[in-house]
Amino acid sequence: MNAWSEFWKGLIIVSLVCFALLSVFVMIGGFRDVFAMFRRIDRQHEQSGRGASKPEQAPPSEPGA
């Protein structure tokens, strides 16, 4: 019982610390990646000629394009 209790206590503390560190890294990196994702989707649209993301530039999408 005692050994299990110590194990769970240690697991909870270590997990929370790891998660806190991971959260910081992912929040910072994810913020950068969001804008990278938009840029990539825009590039893909331009390359495939399916229309840009901005409404004023977007031609009607072709079915099956």
């Binding site: 019982m1 299990w4 209790s5 769970w8 206590k9 697991l11 909870i12 997990s15 929370l16 790891c18 998660f19 806190a20 991971l22 959260s23 890294f25 992912v26 929040m27 910072i28 990196g29 994810g30 913020f31 950068r32 990646d33 969001v34 990278a36 994702m37 938009f38 990539r40 989707i41 825009d42 590039r43 893909q44 649209h45 390359q47 495939s48 399916r50 229309g51 993301s53 901005k54 409404p55 977007a58 999408s61 079915p63 099956g64 394009a65």
Partner: protein, 597 residues
């Protein structure tokens, strides 16, 4: 802080006590021999909370912002690939955030808290299994890397490539059916959380909250698809991770480890500490978790695999799984910890104790009531303002899971059922609109199911068993299809169909059939049967013209290393969403196209 209700007991009658801040209903029944009394608490309506107008304001601002994001990112959607896998443009950090954000949903929080409440510290074995499995999959690329290399959007699409269109359609129907059933309780769990946290006392509040939540989720998911899902997942990850870490600190500070340990020992005994204890989960349950949480949830479940398919490279897939192992551990562990804290808090609070525990110290066997324990606990320990943040974070968690699942199942139906059945004549745009329409239909179903279905078991067990309808067969089919060249269409079809056996694990079905077998035994048996049928069917009925997908299962480290996050390789990414599920090539990974042999 907790309001005390005077308890009146009268055999066989439903009694209620209303005070200035709430109402408690209970029923006292004589047992069969008239020798004692059994208390059945029907519902805990309003119990005092710290939820204030400031908290409502915080929640409202978050919800409005979420819908605005859905409307904004709609302009990035021009085809099925953008809609389903965000144009395959997720980098590592965002992929990890969205993976954790999606999998750490409110439903996960609710069922994990319930597991902590009903199982004590032993329940944490689930998170350990999930974390180790995710790490192993990240290191080995088991199943997910071959799927990413093939450039498939959905798992049934893989079935189609490997086993033909019939297996694809059957697999898609089973996947979507199982998945929709699996999320059948999401809405109710979310509504129970909101009403318990905010102290909404109207008996119809749960129904109205369910309706409101599903409408909001549908609006921004239907409009924005995967792009909006990714953005909201990221926001949810940020909000929820900060909120949950703070909540854990406050809970620990409030109760202390000794009180937690003591409460678990008094309520659950040794079984609350030892997951292998026969009076608790036991070995068979742990084995069932290894299969469901360890293997299937990570490598076979479509919503998780979808993240791998949306990653920009194989290297990202590996990093995603390896780093998400911490997230998979946390997504179980933190809510379970809060569930244990709720149990200890309630155990030591006289008024709440009489609601959640029977006089002999056992938990009241009412799933709805158990699910409300954690939010009630949070509403008692968190200060005003902080509850609003946690409420918004949890709603974010609710929506991020809901949107992912809605998107996933709707895409499967559109892409893997409608498209093959139309003979590939559906345009990309038509496919997109079918997916959106299906999403609305699923939303209506969820509302009806949430109102009607009597849960009658742990929410997690319900989810595991409904998921097993799909993943029991899918695991056998993916394993055989990717790693065993002799796997045949007949074997795959038999393995998939055997998944229906998992329905016997649902409590209402078992009650109707008079079965006295635990759900984990049913699940493990069906999983074993699927593997036997896959092997037996393939050996007895081999394909006359086998289809082999070249090198999908080959672990080419050099290729993986070559895939980077570099923007230059981004340009090389092809948008390979096809309208007919035909072979696609992901040039980024420099893999050869699959070649029929």
């Amino acid at each position: 802080m907790a309001e005390r209700f005077p308890v009146e007991r009268e055999a066989g009658s439903l009694r209620s006590r209303t005070s200035g801040r709430g109402r408690l209903l209970w029923c006292v029944e004589s047992d069969a021999h008239g020798t004692g009394q059994r208390l059945q608490y029907r519902t805990t309506n309003r119990i005092a909370t710290n939820f204030t107008y400031l908290d409502w304001l915080i929640v409202a601002v978050y919800l409005a912002g979420t819908v605005a994001i859905g409307l904004y990112v709609n302009r990035y959607i021009s085809g099925m690939s953008d809609y389903v896998v965000a144009g395959r443009s997720l980098r590592s950090s965002l992929a990890i955030a969205t993976m954790i954000g999606s999998e750490l949903g409110l439903v996960t929080v609710m069922y994990s808290a319930q597991m902590g409440l009903t199982g004590g510290f032993s329940a944490m074995h689930i998170g350990i299994i999930a974390a180790i499995s995710s790490l192993i999959i990240g290191l080995t690329g088991f199943i997910v890397v071959p799927l990413r290399r093939l450039g498939v959007i959905t798992i049934p699409e893989y079935y189609g490539k490997r086993f033909g269109p019939k297996v694809r359609v059957v697999g898609a129907v089973m996947l979507a059916g199982s998945g929709i059933l699996n999320m059948g309780m999401f809405l109710k769990a979310g509504a129970l959380f909101v009403t318990a946290l905010t102290g909404l006392s109207d008996p119809t509040a749960v129904n109205w909250v369910m309706t409101g939540l599903i409408v909001i989720v549908l609006v921004y998911t239907v409009l924005g698809g995967m792009v909006s899902v990714v953005i909201t997942d990221y926001l949810q990850f940020a909000l929820l991770s900060v909120g949950m870490l703070l909540t854990c600190y406050l809970a620990w500070d409030k109760l202390g480890w000794l009180q937690l340990e003591q409460a678990v020992a008094e309520v659950h005994g040794d079984a609350g500490m030892d997951p292998f204890h026969a009076d608790g989960f036991g070995l068979s349950y742990v084995m069932w978790m290894v299969f469901t949480v360890g293997i299937c949830s990570n490598a076979v479940w479509q919503t998780t695999v979808m993240r791998a398919c949306a990653a920009d490279s194989v290297a990202t897939v590996r990093r995603l799984y390896a780093w998400s192992s911490i997230g998979f551990l946390i997504r179980s562990l933190i809510p379970q910890f809060l569930g244990i804290c709720a149990m200890a808090y309630i155990w030591n609070d006289d008024s709440l104790r009489s609601t959640f525990f029977t006089p002999d110290g056992a938990l009241v066997d009412d799933a709805d009531l158990q699910l409300q324990a954690m939010p009630i606990f949070l509403s008692h320990i968190l200060p005003a303002g902080m509850i609003g943040l946690i409420g918004a974070a949890m709603l974010a968690a609710f929506m991020s899971t809901h949107d992912s699942y809605l998107l996933c199942w709707a895409s499967v139906i559109a892409y893997d059922v409608a498209v093959p059945l139309s003979g590939g004549r559906l345009s990309d745009r038509a496919c997109l609109w079918i997916a959106r329409g299906v999403m609305v239909v699923i939303g209506v179903f969820l509302l009806v199911w949430g109102l009607w279905y009597p849960l009658g078991q742990n929410l997690w067990d319900y989810m595991a068993i409904t998921g097993a309808i799909y993943f029991s067969g899918a695991f056998a089919v993916l394993l055989g299809g990717i790693y065993w060249p002799r796997a045949s269409r007949t074997g795959a079809m038999l393995a998939l169909l055997s998944g229906f056996g998992a329905l016997m694990g649902l409590t209402p079905v078992r009650d109707a059939l008079g079965m006295d077998v635990s759900s984990e035994i049913v699940g493990l048996s069906v999983a074993g049967l699927s593997l036997v049928l896959m092997v037996g069917g393939s050996l007895l009925f081999p394909d006359k013209e086998p289809i082999l997908l070249a090198d999908a299962a080959t672990d080419d480290a050099a290729t993986d290393d070559a895939a980077t996050d570099d923007a230059t390789t981004d340009d090389a990414t092809t948008d390979d969403a096809t309208t007919d599920g035909a072979a696609t090539v992901d040039t980024e990974n420099t893999e050869p196209p699959e070649t029929p042999v």
